[in-house]
């Protein structure tokens, strides 16, 4: 019930969903713009960290993501472009420390 309420409030008012007492989940989606999985996942994680940092700042906190850890999750997809090359799209989730 509480979780449902929290999600409803977050979606209604655009409030960040709190991942823990001091951090916020950040999300990203690169779209199909990378020709390598490594670059794609790197971008997805970095952008998700930035999103987490923005959520932290919106909440009045200080994002300390450079001193904490560089960790994120990467889900990826790929398809062929017109030249037949694999092009990747990645979605990332990351959480940075928020003080």
């Amino acid at each position: 019930m509480r979780i449902t309420l929290a999600i409803t409030l977050a979606l209604t008012f655009g409030l960040p969903i709190v991942a823990s007492a001091t951090s916020y989940n950040g999300y990203s989606n690169t779209g199909f713009r990378h020709y390598g999985k490594r670059q794609c996942c790197e971008s997805a994680v970095v952008e998700a960290q930035d999103d987490s940092a923005r959520a932290c700042k919106r909440a009045g906190g200080f994002a300390d993501y450079k001193r904490n850890t560089s960790r994120g999750k990467c889900k990826w997809d790929r398809r062929r472009d017109k030249q037949g090359r694999w092009v990747y799209s990645c979605s990332g989730v990351a959480t940075v420390l928020c003080r």
């Binding site: 999985k37 490594r38 996942c41 790197e42 850890t69 560089s70 960790r71 999750k73 990467c74 889900k75």
Partner: protein, 233 residues
């Protein structure tokens, strides 16, 4: 690479033995692929099996003149681990590995090359990935070096979840020209089959393993980059 975090639990070992016996007895033997094309390297098609004493799969650009490179830009070390495995591990421990191995390798590289943080002529980039995925389609948990930090030289035992992880890790290494982005050399092998390794029970053992591996990698790069050498990693 090594026997990093080698000690598997008795249960796991027994399970593995039992599974092997069953598979051998039940059907034709299946060879597990040496490694999975994870997508970490720029290109895999150019790799070919290494000679005895080399890494399992290697590539050396025949046009590369290593004598022109005096500087290395060592990119943050990356760990790719599938979510199923990483969910059983503490993220701080994986981050500690990403930071600690980077520190150990950088310490050794510094003895032969100037380590730089900015692009420029005469710079080659070194990229190292520790890959622990069972399938190329796996969703990834990604860790990268935040800061080069020496692994604590303590007698604290490593967590059970890290024991034996080295058996599941593949190391992917790539050297490329900073300016042209042309790949100069690349190699792939199992962590357990590279570098010297001993039993790993504590963080102090991890510390030692990383030191040894850094030394081993420097030796490999030194021999491969020696003027006139055609030796691959």
């Amino acid at each position: 690479m090594n026997r990093f975090f080698r000690k598997a639990t008795t249960t796991l070992a027994m399970t593995a033995i039992a599974a092997t016996v069953v598979s051998v007895g039940a059907c034709a033997p299946k060879h597990k692929p040496l490694f999975i094309e994870s997508g970490f390297l720029t290109e895999y098609a150019m790799l070919h099996p290494g000679e005895p004493g080399q890494l399992a799969m290697v590539y050396r650009n025949p046009n590369a003149d290593f004598s022109t490179y005096h500087k290395i830009l060592f990119e943050p070390l990356t760990i790719w681990i599938d979510e199923t495995q990483s969910s059983q591990m503490h993220s701080d421990d994986l981050q500690r590995i990403a930071n600690g191995l980077y520190y150990a390798v950088a310490l050794e590289l510094r003895k032969e090359w100037q380590l730089v943080t900015e692009s420029g002529p005469g710079v080659m980039r070194l990229r190292i990935g520790l890959i622990a995925v069972d399938h190329p389609e796996d969703h990834l948990d990604v860790y990268t070096t935040v800061a080069a930090e020496e692994t604590a030289n303590s007698d604290t035992p490593i967590p059970e979840s890290l024991r034996g992880i080295g058996e599941h890790i593949t190391v992917e290494v790539e050297l490329f020209d900073d300016q042209t982005r042309e790949v100069l050399a690349a190699a792939v092998d199992r962590w357990a089959d590279t570098g010297p390794h001993g039993p790993v029970e504590t963080w102090s053992d991890v510390h030692r393993e990383f030191e040894n591996w850094g030394r081993w990698l420097r030796g490999r790069l030194h021999r491969g980059a020696a003027a006139g050498s055609h030796e691959e990693l």
